[in-house]
């Protein structure tokens, strides 16, 4: 069983490398368009009507593509999430030209509505292997999660207490 497991992990790692979004910009551009459409519709309920949110969604689309493009061209590796978030921070800095207009358009896109479809894809993507693993470790993860929360809170509080 153990060797099987490693084989599967290896396969996943290989597949993942091949599927890194910045390695296939053309394919990614199309899939990104599809997921943006999902987010665009998801935003209708608690965000803004389709037409009002269109510029904001297009800006998000452009930020992601620029971030992936830089990640592709860059000689050292940084995850695509880091590039995309960096591009977005820079474009919304007060000194960036047009940042006010960008923020105005992005305000039409609800923060939480963009992430709702991601979790729907995630729920649909789980395979039998993950269900089995979840069943096996579920209760352990609850215990671990509570320790994680306690650890970060008490850790930060002790450091801050010493510095104050």
């Amino acid at each position: 069983m153990k060797s099987n497991q490693t084989a599967v992990d290896h396969f996943d790692a290989e597949a993942l490398k091949e599927l890194r979004p910045e390695n296939q910009l053309g394919k990614t551009a199309l899939v990104l368009a599809a997921v943006c459409i999902s987010a665009w519709f998801s935003n209708v309920v608690n965000g803004a009507p389709l037409l009002d949110a269109l510029p904001g969604m297009l800006i998000l689309y452009a930020m992601v593509m620029v971030g992936l493009g830089i990640g592709r061209a860059c000689p050292f590796y940084l995850p695509s999430v880091a590039w995309v978030s960096l591009i977005s921070i820079v474009m919304t800095l007060p000194m960036f030209p047009g940042s006010e207009w960008i923020l105005e358009q992005l305000a039409q896109v609800n923060f939480l509505a963009v992430v709702t479809p991601v979790l729907a894809y995630a729920g649909l993507a789980l395979t039998g292997r993950e269900f089995a693993m979840f069943k096996h470790t579920g209760w352990k993860l609850v215990l671990v999660a509570l320790l994680v929360f306690t650890g970060t809170f008490v850790g930060s509080a002790i450091v801050a207490h010493i510095l104050l």
């Binding site: 992990d9 993950e130 809170f153 002790i158």
Partner: protein, 272 residues
Amino acid sequence: MDLKLLLNWRLHLTVIVTSMFAEWVGIARIPLGPGTLLLLPLLYAFVIGVLLNPHLFSVMGKLVPKSVSHASGPIILIAILPFIAKFGSTIGPAIEQIIAAGPALLLQEAGNLGTMLIALPFAVLVLKMGRESIGATYSIAREPNIAIISDRYGLRSPEGIGIMGVYVVGTMFGTLYFALMAGYIASLDILDIRALAMACGVGSGSMVAACSAALVEAVPASKDELLAFAGASNLLTYATGLYISLFIALPITEWMYKRLKGNAPAEVRHEI
């Protein structure tokens, strides 16, 4: 991966309908004791996605065939990116506040590395968990941290299972637990209440709200000061959290895991 599968209209339509329904149900606040159980649309979307998953109920294969479900895996990597872009746009405009927050707040961010200090040894040595424990304990498991794990290992890896487990627990009980814990620790009167307020900024909007509300409840006189500290600290975690967890927390967790595994019995790897 075949482009036809990635752009399968049934998959995306199912996601759109699921998301719109989840958004329509909206945020639910369930008061429970001193805190509030906060349920967000993304949680319903995940649960509905799981229920529609053909691997759980084979009858769902009629709606979303298994091959399309497999294609959904790599899509997650791309789907999280517009959210990351939106997330970054909340930091740019607040850059001056973040700089003004000062070095004390900055150093306090190091405390966020406390996630793995107790939890990782417990997970590996007591619960005998495998690599799930890395995903589960390297961070507080909010959306940006999920994006990092998804990028590094994939969400279907053991690390991915670990972080999704903590994410779900955090979504369901995080708010309640933070309110309870913060209120309780404040009542012990060991640590400076302002230090506790800074500690509330863990990078989750609902958790910081519940945590600082509980502190205000404990010391009503310092309300404004406490909320300001908590807010600034949370903003800082938003700004730096992604980079700290990627470049510091994840390598430390990997290193600790290897050390702990060296001392643990060999059969710990998960068998399914």
